[in-house]
């Protein structure tokens, strides 16, 4: 089981801030493909990956990174703090 978190407009499009998933995805990209196939709202949220960022266990990462040992995946748009 893996915790998947969504922030900002990704959270709004998917409609929930967080969910627990059972997945066999090897990389972040595999997980994205699984999510896209689930429901239209996921397909929309993940339609343009260049507009998305991913963090693995609270460290910024890449879409081709492996999920092995990861407990928390977060998807969100580019940050706009400061």
């Amino acid at each position: 089981m893996i915790d998947v978190l969504y922030f900002a407009w990704v959270r709004e499009r998917i409609g929930i801030p967080k969910e627990k998933l059972q997945t066999n995805a090897v990389t972040v990209m595999d997980l994205v493909e699984e999510l896209r196939a689930r429901e239209e709202r996921y397909a929309v949220a993940f339609s343009d990956l260049s507009a998305l960022r991913v963090a693995l266990d609270q460290d910024l990462s890449e879409f081709d990174a492996p999920l092995d040992g990861v407990r928390e995946v977060a998807f969100f748009p580019p940050m706009t703090g400061g």
Binding site: F7, D59, A74, P78, M79, G81, G82
Partner: protein, 147 residues
């Protein structure tokens, strides 16, 4: 080093006066304060979402990186989340050093990294509705200055 992520307002002046107060060998303190700006004249409020846990972690890493790059006596980052009115302070950073160039560079670096690497997202609520603030290419490009 002090990293604060909070919903409550903070007093930038009081923070500046308290910062690096007990260091006798500093000559320079540079601070940056980010203020909720009413660009279009129609902003009613700004909402800031963040990623609890990762936020503190990312800000701490950015401060540590600044401390390895420059000789700093102290570093401060305060960033708010939640709802802000126009004119409210959103955040501040400060860097104290023996030399002014180090303090300026460190504060500038902290801002550039905080902007694009700390998990905050701004949403502007205007009379026309609410919109997530788009990240600027110029903010991402600014990071190249530090490579």
């Amino acid at each position: 080093m002090r990293v604060v992520v909070q919903e409550a307002p903070f007093d930038a002046g009081a923070e500046l006066n308290a910062f690096a107060k007990d260091d006798t060998d500093i000559g320079a303190v540079v601070s940056f304060t980010g203020v909720t700006r009413d660009v279009s004249g129609g902003l009613s409020r700004m909402q800031i979402e963040h990623y609890p846990g990762m936020t503190e972690r990312a800000l701490t890493q950015i401060c540590e990186e600044a401390q390895t790059r420059w000789s700093l006596a102290d570093v401060l980052v305060i960033h708010r989340f939640g709802t802000m009115e126009p004119g409210d302070n959103i955040m501040m950073v400060a860097a104290a050093s023996r030399h002014r160039a180090d303090a300026f560079k460190a504060a500038d670096f902290l801002m550039d990294y905080l902007k694009s690497r700390a998990p905050f997202w701004k949403k502007e609520v205007t009379t026309d509705g609410a919109d997530w603030v788009a990240a600027k290419d110029s903010d991402e490009d600014a990071l190249d200055r530090w490579n």
